[in-house]
């Protein structure tokens, strides 16, 4: 029989306001095995932990139940306290009477009743707990960063500077990401490329950083400290070592009709191309969809003009397999497709553009060489209308339910830049709210209004109506004046919602990292562990976790790097002892369990068994506890019940069921 101590936390008033904590402790004492029960203001405090330690020592407790917040918060705290007192930490169970009780119920009597039952279940479980000892696993001192935008670059630089090897995997032919497409940045109006390219160069020159561009993560296996990742290096058809980056091939390439991804399809590029002038690596790739050689077998101009002999049409995709201790996801974002917003005439008029397209138009390396002009007729606009919240803050399934966060600021930036460079252009912004929480942000927005005379109108636009004369009639609301506005404009810019990059769900699945309904990766704790995934060893950097601007992204990238460094600095990790175990007396050796094990942790041995005096050689399942992650799939599939999960055994769970249903 266990000797169990029950410790009920008030959590200030968080629990005590709705749960009669004294009553919970009192009722706990009536349960079998309980020899001690008490309540305290803050169990997680130093003094609270001391109470647990004291009780374990004085009353020779063999098991502990803490009735408190979620085990996801303080399980470790209390287990460590128990360990201090000489008790096996796995003899501690938590009854979650805060998140699952006091916070969601209002009636004291009801909440108390429930808390008593939750406590009872935890006690029933502890009665069947057995001491467990974690194993150890090694840490591969190398990190993988998925995504080579500003987030990935910053994370890689920080990890590399700490002395660890880092690989960056980037899908596009060059690193740089979304930031490389921006013209200026808010709130200081720095040139985006001017601040980004030095970082790109630094990353590529860093001896600890290895960059795989035009590559994708193909497969991930393993676990924290010991991931194995297959990276597909897509065929570039250009030899990275031989190419000098002279650019002649791109000049001479006769196929120049492919839409430029970098310029958002606003102009075209050659079939052999580097996305932009400052690309890193400065080695082009051949787009086989538009390359004449690949389509017809004839041409080969690039190969002929290449002095270095770097063109290789026979190149094949290559799979690189590499081990990593930590993985940082920095997959970034894209703007949403506007198919669901045809009332804004984006698909009907070339002069309705997204903000990201405007960035390219404003940029000297863009399709109009930096001149603000209408894409339909090349004329300079006189009236520009910006529409905010296009696809953001939508409760229906047309758009995204969240605020994209960066649009208010970049719209103010665009408005300001246009008024600055083209003072004769009138700029009107239709907004629902102007959101500027950030250092110098509101000041920036006010400058747009006060200094540059941008006309802000509170109200959404209902329809953009192309006119036969080529102008755009914008029909919107002015809610403050309570009128409907019809405004003729030359160009309309849509502050298009952003969404996590396509393919992030696939990556999350490979990493078994949780992801929310909007395809943002979920953090381990919304407030306290914002840069870690709940999956150990996976860290989050940049917009893949939620909308953010550049300074926030860089800050988070640094934070993710620190978390990864913290992991890589360890030589060994303790493994979760809650692993499966097969009872060799019960095992049939039927192989069903191995079929469902996602980790290949189960193998079979012919083993001499002594079954109550009968000695025979049997085929039995053996679990490699270093590989087992403790999911329990095998335990349910096992027909004989030989397979059980330590810490979540059949008897423990059944005891909880019984205690709840009693």
């Amino acid at each position: 029989m266990q000797r169990i101590g029950v410790f009920v936390c008030h959590c200030g008033s968080n629990i005590a306001a709705t749960v009669d904590v004294k009553k919970v402790a009192e009722m706990a004492l009536l349960e079998p095995g309980v020899v001690h029960a008490e309540d305290y203001q803050y169990m997680c405090s130093e003094a609270g932990q001391e109470k647990i330690i004291e009780a374990i020592r004085e009353k020779n407790l063999t098991g502990v139940v803490v009735c408190s917040c979620s085990p996801r918060m303080h399980e470790t705290t209390f287990r460590k306290a128990a360990e201090k007192a000489g008790l096996n930490p796995y003899m501690v169970e938590i009854a979650n009477i805060r998140e699952h009780c006091s916070w969601i119920h209002k009636d004291m009597e009801e909440a108390t009743k429930k808390a008593v039952i939750l406590t009872r279940a935890a006690i029933a479980k502890v009665n069947l707990n057995t001491p467990l000892k974690p194993g150890e696993s090694r840490v591969t001192k190398r990190a993988l960063v998925i995504g080579g935008g500003i987030a990935g670059i910053q994370t890689a630089l920080d990890i590399a500077d700490a002395g660890y090897e880092v690989d960056i995997v980037e899908r596009e032919p060059s690193i740089g990401g979304r930031m490389s497409q921006l013209d200026k940045t808010f709130p200081t109006l720095d040139c985006s490329a001017c601040i980004l390219t030095p970082k790109m160069v630094e990353a590529s020159a860093h001896e600890k950083i290895n960059i795989y561009t035009y590559s994708e993560v193909e497969k991930v296996s393993g676990f924290v400290g010991d991931f194995t990742v297959d990276i597909r290096k897509k065929a570039r058809y250009v030899d990275m070592d031989k190419c000098t980056g002279c650019g002649v091939c791109q000049e001479k390439c006769p196929s120049k009709k492919a839409p430029s991804e970098f310029n958002r399809g606003l102009n075209t590029r050659s079939a052999i191309y580097t996305p932009f002038a400052q690309a890193i690596p400065n080695v082009p790739v051949i787009d086989t969809n538009s390359c004449i050689k690949f389509k017809t077998g004839k041409c080969g101009v690039c190969s002929k003009v290449c002095q270095a002999g770097a063109i290789d049409y026979t190149q094949k995709d290559e799979i690189v397999s590499q081990k990593y201790g930590a993985i940082v996801v920095a997959t970034g974002f894209d703007t949403i497709k506007l198919d669901n917003y045809d009332e804004y005439a984006y698909s009907q008029s070339k002069d309705v553009i997204t903000s990201l397209e405007l960035e390219r138009i404003m940029n000297a390396a863009g399709p109009t060489k930096g001149h603000l002009e209408r894409l339909s007729d090349g004329k300079a606009p006189k009236e520009m209308v910006f529409i905010q919240c296009v696809g953001s803050r939508c409760a229906d399934d047309r758009g995204k339910p969240y605020c994209s966060k960066i649009c208010c600021m970049y719209t103010a930036k665009h408005a300001m830049l246009i008024r600055d460079k083209y003072p004769d252009v009138n700029v009107t912004v239709f907004y629902i709210d102007v959101r500027t929480p950030g250092k110098n942000f509101d000041e920036f927005y006010r400058r747009a209004v006060e200094q540059y005379g941008v006309n802000y109108i509170k109200g959404q636009v209902g329809k953009v109506i192309p006119q036969p004369n080529g102008k755009l009639l914008v029909q919107g609301s002015d809610l403050l004046d309570n009128r409907q506005i019809l405004k003729e404009a030359d160009m309309v810019v849509l502050a298009t919602a952003i969404e996590p990059n396509e393919g992030v769900r696939k990556i999350a699945t490979m990493l078994t990292a949780s992801i929310d309904t909007n395809n943002f990766l979920t953090e381990a704790h919304a407030k306290l562990r914002p840069v870690e995934s709940p999956t150990a060893g996976i860290f989050l950097s940049g917009v893949c976790q939620g909308p953010k601007d550049i300074p926030e992204t860089v800050a988070q990238a640094g934070a993710a790097a620190v978390k990864a460094i913290g992991l890589l600095a360890k030589d060994k990790l303790l493994t979760n002892p809650c692993t499966a175990q097969s009872d060799e007396l019960l095992c049939n050796g039927c192989s069903t369990c191995a079929n469902v094990c996602p980790y290949g942790a189960i193998s079979y041995e012919e083993k001499e068994i002594n079954d109550h005096g009968i000695r025979e050689t049997r085929r039995i399942a053996v679990v490699n506890s270093a590989l087992c992650q403790g999911c329990g799939a095998c335990t349910v599939t096992c027909p004989s019940g030989a397979m059980d999960l330590q810490g979540f055994s059949n008897r423990q769970i059944l005891a909880e069921v019984d205690a709840i249903c009693r």
Binding site: D396, I432, G459
Partner: protein
């Protein structure tokens, strides 16, 4: 429960729309083709129901100007569906007061030889009990 509160609830129930979801973006009013003819604008409709200010709504001529063209329903980013609220308010009026916006003896003078049945039927449904 006050009468207005009851009516507000009835409107919410009949319409199945939730005015509290409104974020006051004004896209409904930006969209409405009958905006100019309305005394209470579509976006205001939503807040009138939310604030249970029903008497004013019931007096409003906007009830009879809404075309049921569903453009506001289609474009509302919050799924508030102002058009449904307006129709529900219209229902409340015709049901509770027995007041028909269209009276039978008015009809002959409104007719012209080309007028399709559909128009009469629709107008009857929308304007009468």
């Amino acid at each position: 429960m006050s009468k207005e509160k009851k009516q507000a609830e009835l409107i919410r129930e009949i319409s199945g729309a939730n005015p509290l979801k409104c974020m006051k973006c004004g896209k409904c009013s930006a969209t409405c083709p009958a905006y100019a003819e309305m005394d209470i604008k579509p976006h205001q409709f939503v807040s009138y129901v939310a604030n249970e200010d029903i008497e004013a709504l019931v007096q409003s001529k906007s009830l009879w100007k809404c075309l049921s063209c569903f453009a506001c329903v289609e474009r509302c980013p919050r799924d508030v569906q102002p058009g449904k609220l307006i129709d529900a308010a219209r229902q409340v009026v015709v049901r509770q007061r027995g007041e028909n916006y269209l009276k039978a003896d008015e009809i002959p003078e409104l007719l012209d030889p080309e007028l399709p049945q559909q128009l009469l039927v629709s107008a009857f449904r929308r304007y009468r009990r």
